[in-house]
Amino acid sequence: MNKNKVKEKNKKIKNINLEYIMSVNVLKNFIEVLSTKYKTYAPVNKEKRVVWAQIKNFNEISRDYIDGIQTTILPPKYFFFPPNEKLLFLNSNNVDYKKNEQIHEPFILFGVHPCDIHGLLLMDKIFLENYVDDFYKEKRDNAIIIGMDTMPNEWNFSKSAGTDIIDSGFDIFLIPLKENKFYIKIATKKGLSLIKNINGLFPLNKNDKKLLTEFYTEKNKRYKRNVDMHDLPKLLDRTYESKIWDEIGKQCVACTRCSIVCPTCYCFNIKEDYYLNLIEGERVRTWDSCLRQNFALVAGGHNFRSSLKARIRHRYYHKERIFSYIYGKSACVGCGRCSRDCKANIKPDEVFNKLRQLEIKS
């Protein structure tokens, strides 16, 4: 058996597909049990917004988040690729370094939306495929992902991005249904071990299936943002010189927030800081953004993208064109976070629509 076939087979063994229905009370109990065993992180309200935080019971979880009114400020990448991470300890006397051994224990991310799970799977391509990033991998291996479907919020266009449905990348997946019920799907052995002692899981009956269909009908109906994303890389190839980029370049203020809140932006900066003995020090990784003025500055003082137009255009070309050519997929999962947080009102779905329309017109 060749390597790929083995992989394929393992995948099949790992892929369990058990579906049940449970009441919200059973879910409450489930979360209480889980959170005593594992650190459990879920979206909770903070003032009028939603952030990830450790929880102990179901009632702490943001209602807005469950209902799909809004999503978290930062995406789940935060847990695997933190904004500020110590990587190595250096010693310039013997030109040696030591890895920063972090303490790892299994933890639960509860309620990850389908588009964000897609986001994590894309991050895996970056951090695990060609070059394995230990720091990312260790945390990723320890994560138990409990996904949860939801209604689209006002910025989300995941249906257009093809990320509204998810069939892998989670251990357990939930769908909130009417009549205070939750659909639960167990997809991995890890997931199976979690529900082992949970009573109150029932096979889906006819009514449950009807509720499930209703959920999806409602979800599809609620998408306010639709955009034709087919062949985007080619569309971008053709519109590199479009005047739309001049307009957007004037609109952007280079605040960098769009890339910071994006579930698939992975640019980072590496800094070295020495201790006061000037011999030992540490190497730290921090989030970075291509919208920053000197992001593309190289030795000799040349900046490949000094204008705002060039930078914001690069963001779109990297997400849609470069990423697609390398990984066969767009890097934008349509989560809408950048649209929500861009004070200059730049929204990817609107940008793509404009490009498409302009092309049709001309």
């Binding site: 400020i73 935060y78 910071i260 006061l276 705002l308 947080d341 009102n345």
Partner: protein, 269 residues
């Protein structure tokens, strides 16, 4: 390290509150550790000796009067590396607020009727320029430690990098980068005007993280899109007058130099 291998460092100040030098002294123990690698040959706030022999000069304050010019030029000549220390030195800070007015009005506002004393012979040494200027309006500056006041950890970082012969990593990104990376709730979402959008970070978004708007004490990012910032404030129904006052607090040098205003004279009526 033998005594004579220590790098000679000097501190100077021009128009400023000396708070940034104080921030350096506030390092206390770390400052003492630093003295194993550097020898301070000039530091009015801490020592009385003076010397012209130094490798690195840290200069606080803005250039505001004719007698400052030969002095800063001399420092530039002596120093191999000149570091602007704090907002007055890097971009004019509050000193440059006077740049928005006629100098005689400024004198009047400050000294009342005594303003005529400026015309006397004895007052000659106190003659000031119309404009308060950052150091780089007069001499070449190699590195900028920004902020009002500076973050003394950043000062340490710069010193250590220079001693290691590395280029100090001074950020050029907007405050928003650090603010969002911390997961803060944006103050615009609470109806406030925060200058973090177009202001230079490096302070770990100190003010927004503590619930206060950023006032841009580290200056603007390169080529700030103020035109768009103005539109954003209008779109959000916030006060341009207020925004302009905030902008002027630390950044009047850049505003007057580039003739940037949020409110045109027409609009002002």
């Amino acid at each position: 390290m033998p005594e004579n291998k220590k790098v000679k460092v000097a501190f100077f100040d021009f128009a400023s509150c000396e708070g940034c030098q104080l921030q350096v002294l506030n390092l206390e123990n770390e400052f003492l550790n630093l003295l194993e690698h550097i020898e301070i040959v000039n530091f009015r706030e801490a020592i009385s000796e003076k010397s012209d022999d130094y490798l690195i000069a840290f200069v606080e304050g803005s250039i505001t009067k004719p007698s400052d010019i030969p002095r800063i030029k001399k420092i530039r000549e002596n120093a191999k590396i000149l570091v602007a220390l704090g907002a007055c030195a890097t971009h004019g800070c509050v000193n440059s607020m006077k740049n928005m007015f006629k100098i005689n009005d400024v004198k009047k506002a400050t000294y009342g009727d005594d303003d005529k004393l400026f015309d006397s012979e004895e007052a000659k040494p106190f003659e000031t320029f119309e404009q308060a200027m950052p150091l780089d309006a007069v001499v070449k500056v190699d590195y900028y430690i920004r902020g009002c006041p500076i973050n003394n950890k950043e000062f340490l970082m710069v010193v250590k990098a220079l001693l290691k012969g590395k280029m100090p990593e001074i950020t050029d990104s907007a405050v928003c980068l650090e603010c969002q990376a911390k997961g803060n709730i944006c103050l615009y979402d609470k109806g406030e005007i925060c200058l973090g959008l177009i202001s230079r970070g490096g302070c770990d978004a100190w003010c927004p993280s503590n619930g206060f708007v950023c006032e841009g004490c580290r200056g603007f990012i390169d080529k700030p899109n103020i035109e768009r910032m103005k539109e954003i404030i209008i779109e959000k129904g916030l006060s341009l007058e207020y925004a302009e006052k905030r902008l002027q607090l630390f950044n009047s040098w850049e505003l007057t130099k580039n003739k940037i205003t949020l409110i045109d004279d027409k609009e002002k009526k």
